[in-house]
């Protein structure tokens, strides 16, 4: 399959990339790993006239600890690097666990965290972890550089808060409170490994073992990744016992919008949302030391 013709650009700096995006506003797409965009271009689902490749920019490829003890991941850091780097695993184990479940080895070698966020495939894994970790996404190229909370970043299927001239540069993951346990579990499409439903859960316990903070984010089920707020509210202030987790998970699909496709009906996804939420919560509670 041959993509429609386009002009390929390999800028040497972020500045140059931004300049190219502005010069070709509306006709250009940014590519990093290309694991979603290139197949889409081959199918001619995407036909950009200009392709701006930021994958080789070292300024977007770093992983660093932040002053608050969290971690900042450059937009072009590959899944593979997050999965294998000891410092990334130590600082954001949920993120490492999540991206290790993306696609296959070859895809994880090219695919990037920023690419997953900016592409906003509704069945992508990483966005669930970003929501559950209260991540924030740094973008530049608009009126001024800005930091967008993950909760306000994913707007719809393949639609984000990024403007066409903006580039996502960095993903900020705050330090998680002590006694936090987290897990990402998914029911995957066997062929593509995309999530039919995937759930990232992070639970923080206080000294008495009561859940003081709950974050539950669901991907794959609907047009965009969302937090299961009814579940979070139910669990907060309770001991994460088997029963409490069951009750909380039963509320996971409340207020949520579901999609239907060849992989499953709305009802099926709704059911899976509750089941996978329960399993993710059980694992997160175990890891928190409940």
């Amino acid at each position: 399959m041959i993509p429609a013709p386009f002009a390929y650009h390999a800028p040497q700096s972020l500045r140059e990339a931004l300049r190219l995006l502005r010069a070709h506003e509306g006709e250009a797409r940014v590519v990093a790993g290309g694991m979603s965009l290139i197949p889409a271009m081959k199918l001619r689902l995407a036909q950009p006239e200009h392709l701006v490749d930021i994958g080789g920019l070292s300024e977007l490829s770093g992983v660093r600890r932040t002053d608050d003890g969290g971690v900042a991941v450059g937009a072009c850091v590959t899944y593979r690097r997050l999965e294998t780097s000891r410092s990334a695993r130590a600082a954001a184990p949920l993120l490492a666990e999540t991206v290790a479940q993306v696609g296959d080895l070859q895809v994880r070698n090219r695919g990037t965290l920023g690419g997953s966020a900016a592409h906003a495939d509704p069945a992508a894994d990483a966005p669930a972890a970003l929501l559950a970790l209260d991540a924030a996404l740094r973008a530049t190229g608009g009126a001024r550089p800005r930091v967008i909370p993950a909760a306000r970043f994913f707007l719809d299927a393949y639609e984000t808060a990024l403007a066409p001239t903006e580039i996502l540069t960095e993903i900020l993951i705050p330090k998680q409170p002590p006694r936090t346990g987290a897990a990402y579990l998914k029911f995957a499409n066997k062929a593509s490994r995309f999530a039919i439903v995937g759930v990232a859960a992070a639970l923080t316990l206080d000294r008495r073992g009561v859940c003081s903070r709950a974050r539950v984010a669901v991907t794959g089920a609907g047009p965009r990744p969302v937090r299961a707020s009814a579940t979070e509210r139910w669990l907060t202030g309770r001991q994460p016992s088997q029963t409490a987790i069951g009750e909380a998970a039963a509320r996971a699909s409340r207020g949520m919008e579901f999609i239907e496709d060849v992989h499953g009906s709305e009802e099926y996804r709704e059911h899976l949302t509750r089941v996978i939420t329960r399993r993710a919560l059980e694992e997160a509670a175990r890891r928190a030391g409940a």
Binding site: M1, I2, P3, A4, P5, F6, A7, Y8, A10, G34, M35, I38, P39, M41, K42, L43, L51, D53, G55, R80, T84, G103, D104, L105, Q106, V107, N109, R110, A191, S192, R193
Partner: protein, 158 residues
């Protein structure tokens, strides 16, 4: 058209490509290295896997222009011409790890990266590593046996 220069199997090579040409097209059509196969052309089967700067990638999902200046290893580069087979190739031979052989180059290159990082893998780790490589002949058992055999050879314990 643009000129792309890269190192393929240790040799510097240049070719004229269109911006929309894929790395696999460059390898197969321009450089005549037809050991890299195209199975699905939709980044699912892994038959087109090559090493790009040491990392296994699907060459049907990388543009040739993106490989400018890169080091690429294809199946033709695993063993020296006329010399002994690479231990991974030898292991596939011994364990009957192939039938039609269409998937084998991709399997070998994925395993090449995997075994470098994980020289003594468990059965299930091999299966996970090969998750992006499909075989429609063997049923995978002998491919996993080949991988484990190759690992032993490369550790020097075979």
């Amino acid at each position: 058209m643009r000129q792309v220069t890269l190192t393929v199997n240790g040799r510097r090579r240049s070719a004229e490509v269109e911006d929309r040409d894929l790395l696999v097209d460059l390898l197969r059509e321009k450089l005549r290295l037809t050991g890299t196969h195209v199975g699905c052309d939709t980044s699912q089967c892994g038959a087109c896997t090559v090493l790009l700067n040491g990392a296994a990638v699907k060459s049907c999902a990388v543009f040739a222009a993106q490989a400018e200046g890169a080091k690429v290893t294809t199946i033709e580069g695993l063993a020296k011409p006329g010399g002994p087979l690479h231990p991974i190739q030898q292991a596939f031979h011994e364990e009957h790890g192939l039938q039609c052989g269409f998937c084998t180059p991709g399997m070998a290159l994925t395993l090449h990266e995997f075994l470098r990082r994980n020289p003594d893998p468990a059965d299930h780790e091999v299966r996970a590593a090969l998750g992006g490589n499909m075989c429609r002949c063997t049923g995978y058992q002998n491919i996993v046996a080949s991988a484990l055999n190759a690992a032993r050879k490369m550790r020097g314990t075979a």
